[in-house]
């Protein structure tokens, strides 16, 4: 295996509040290979967006990195200065935000926004800027006439694709996406996902894709990271996780949404709701909602155990390992 493009080790993020620090991301380890598609799924408040912002070095107070490293192309980004970061940002990695409606400036044409982005990170002639802008817009299937358009003149799907085009201005090695399709309808969603995947194949960038909808990434991601209460609950090959989820939370998520094919069967969802990170449950953070919780789950905090190439934070699998020894 080649050396990873991105290596996140022991990364923790705290939100500093008057009532004490809240740990939103707790000792997360992940690595992303070049050209890999890694999906991060979890419920709202599980820390997935915070993790993304921590990787992209976009955290702002009250959030701060409490420990760990984010090594991207051999350099620890946590220790870089703003000035050093500016040279990497957008050229080497870019970010597509959740809501294109809010992320694009309503007062500026698409062309002006692309120009701003390029000028902030590079020195290019006006002509070169215009050509590059038209080129990336074409990549995402939007006609170059829309360079003159304002965001409100584009449909939701087109705005979201314009955001992706903007992220590709410098052909980065890594594109970080925070729920880029959540504001779209199913049909537009499906076509955008196919398009992202196709661009990725063509241009070879790696993707970190955050979503709350597991079914969306089933056919597009190589690996899947399931987060719960700020921690990695399960991490492994996407199809393996779908076929044989090890963590009861992953199982619950998979059983939580109805199918449009096959027999109609009753769904239970997962009882209760995600924990308050200011007061996480003792032991395993999932135990109050877990259908197979054991007595020790409320007292013993599980590690990440490696079972057949999958990392899983659940005592059931600690037992399995112990038995095997």
């Amino acid at each position: 295996m080649s050396s990873p493009l991105l290596e996140v080790s022991d990364l923790s993020v705290d939100y500093i509040t008057d009532a004490g620090d809240v740990r939103a991301v707790d000792r997360v380890d992940i690595d992303v290979q070049p050209s890999e598609f890694l999906a991060i799924v979890g419920e709202s408040g599980c820390g997935k967006s915070t993790l993304l912002f921590a990787i992209a070095q976009l955290l702002s107070p009250p959030a701060e990195i409490a420990g760990g490293t984010v090594v991207f192309k051999g350099r620890d980004m946590v220790r870089l200065t703003e000035d050093e970061l500016r040279h990497i940002r957008w050229r080497d990695y870019s970010v597509v935000m959740q809501s294109a409606m809010n992320a694009l400036n309503p007062m500026k044409s698409i062309e002006a926004q692309f120009r701003d982005t390029i000028e902030a990170h590079d020195d290019m002639s006006r002509k070169a800027i215009r050509e590059r802008s038209a080129e990336v817009l074409h990549l995402v299937g939007i006609d170059a006439v829309h360079l003159k358009s304002y965001p409100h003149q584009l449909s939701g799907g087109m705005r979201q694709r314009a955001m992706i085009a903007m992220a590709l201005l410098f052909t980065p090695d890594l594109v970080i996406m925070d729920e880029p399709t959540s504001a779209l309808d199913v049909v537009a969603q499906r076509s955008l996902m196919s398009q992202i995947k196709e661009l990725q194949k063509r241009l070879g960038f790696a993707v970190i894709f955050v979503t709350h909808d597991m079914s969306l990434v089933r056919h597009y991601s190589d690996r899947l990271l399931v987060m719960y209460a700020g921690q990695v609950a399960e991490l492994g090959d996407t199809s393996a996780l779908f076929e044989d989820p090890l963590h009861p939370y992953t199982k619950g998520l998979l059983d939580a949404f109805p199918s449009i094919r096959g027999p109609r069967r009753p769904l239970t969802g997962i009882p209760g709701s995600p924990p308050d990170l200011a007061r996480p449950p003792s032991g395993c953070r999932f135990h109050p909602r877990c259908p197979v919780a054991m007595a020790q789950c409320s007292t013993t905090e599980p590690d990440l155990y490696e079972v057949a190439g999958i990392r899983v934070r659940c005592l059931l699998h600690a037992e399995a390992l112990k038995d095997a020894v």
Binding site: G141, D185, V187, R190, S215, G252, A256, S259, I260
Partner: protein, 354 residues
């Protein structure tokens, strides 16, 4: 506490006449709502809902499925009498609701047809306890109840929707509740006044995946236990399948297909329904043959001319589709679609009022 079966609501005479058993609870005829866009002299008209005929039966759980902008929320607001229709009629138990003028009649209709909103974070007043909405609804719509009876009834409906212990839950503020719990408060508020119909506008779309199933189950539960009909509005056809007896598919202001849930899903007649079904991600299935990326997006329906509104995206479009707006036509028992091609395949035509 008042026994539910012997409910003694003050029911206005006209509506209290027992409905014939086969009469729908609610029916719309040619329901239309247009919005004027732009300034004073603008002639741009947005056709949010055009010529919609729909029925909702007693104790029926019907789902209205469509993309954003298709007009499904406008239908909910028309049925709730939050908007006046531009044209067309709404009949509630055989009586046109536009003939309701007295405050008493309107209040009664509004108690019979309750709404649950999409966003449980903004549909509740943050400075009041969650009991506020339920108690207020009870005071307004069930004035016969005294103070302690209202409290008992509030506790009953909170228990019914799974917010237990009810007395404690009623004392909470919205910020102390999760999204799923708040949405349950929304349903409790609606059920408290013993409605016949609940209009649930995307009640799960803002909720986390893990708690959606609970709310979907709550809807089927309320139908069983309270005998209420529900119009479940959603963009998620899989969840519609999970709860609904019948599905209506909306596109660009028109209902393009309607029928029993399994019939619509296993044998979709309208090409839009087919597109919608092919786009639904289903992790349990291998990916279907890749849908062409150039399928486009729903049109904004401003000053539309004659013709099928789906024709620009439709793989089956023929010449007539650009000239004649297809009517919703019965193609199989209880199963209808508004498509010239589908109608021709079934040996009928969709080009004239049926």
């Amino acid at each position: 506490m008042a026994n539910f079966a012997n409910g003694t609501n003050a029911i206005p005479a006209a509506a209290s006449a027992a409905p014939a058993s086969d009469e729908p609870l609610l029916q719309t005829v040619g329901l239309t709502r247009h919005f004027k866009l732009g300034g004073l002299f603008s002639s741009q008209i947005l056709h949010a809902v055009d010529d919609v005929d729909l029925t909702i039966g007693e104790r029926e759980l019907v789902s209205l499925v469509g993309e954003s902008g298709s007009g499904k929320s406008t239908i909910a607001r028309l049925l709730a009498m939050l908007y006046r229709p531009t044209a067309g009629e709404i009949h509630y138990r055989g009586r046109s609701v536009h003939s309701l003028h007295s405050r008493r009649d309107l209040l009664h209709y509004r108690s019979q047809v309750q709404m649950v909103f999409q966003d449980p974070y903004s549909s509740m007043n943050p400075v009041f306890r969650v009991s506020h909405g339920v108690m207020r609804n009870l005071k307004l719509h069930r004035p016969e109840l005294g103070r302690s009876e209202r409290r008992e009834e509030a506790e009953r409906v909170f228990t019914l929707v799974g917010l237990t212990p009810a007395a404690e839950m009623l004392r909470k503020y919205p910020y102390e509740m999760s999204g799923g719990q708040r949405q349950r408060v929304g349903f409790a508020q609606a059920v408290a006044v013993r409605p016949k119909l609940i209009l649930a506008d995307e009640p799960v779309s803002m909720l986390d995946v893990s708690i959606r199933a609970g709310i979907l189950n709550l809807m089927t539960d309320l139908r069983e236990r309270e005998g209420v009909s529900i119009l479940y509005i959603t963009h998620d056809i899989a969840s519609a399948r999970y709860v609904a007896d019948r599905i209506m598919v909306m596109y660009a202001g028109h209902i393009v297909e309607a029928g029993p849930t399994e019939a619509v899903l296993s044998d979709p007649r309208h090409p839009y329904t087919q597109l919608l079904l092919s786009a639904v991600p289903d992790p349990r299935e291998p990916i279907s043959v890749s849908t062409s990326p150039a399928v486009g997006e729903p049109p904004k329906v401003v000053n539309p001319g004659e013709g099928c509104r789906f024709r620009e995206r439709c793989p089956l479009a023929i010449e007539i589709c650009g000239r004649v707006t297809p009517r919703l036509t019965v193609l199989a028992p209880a199963h209808s679609a508004a498509c010239h091609v589908a109608a021709a395949a079934a040996g009928v035509t969709a080009d004239s009022p049926s």
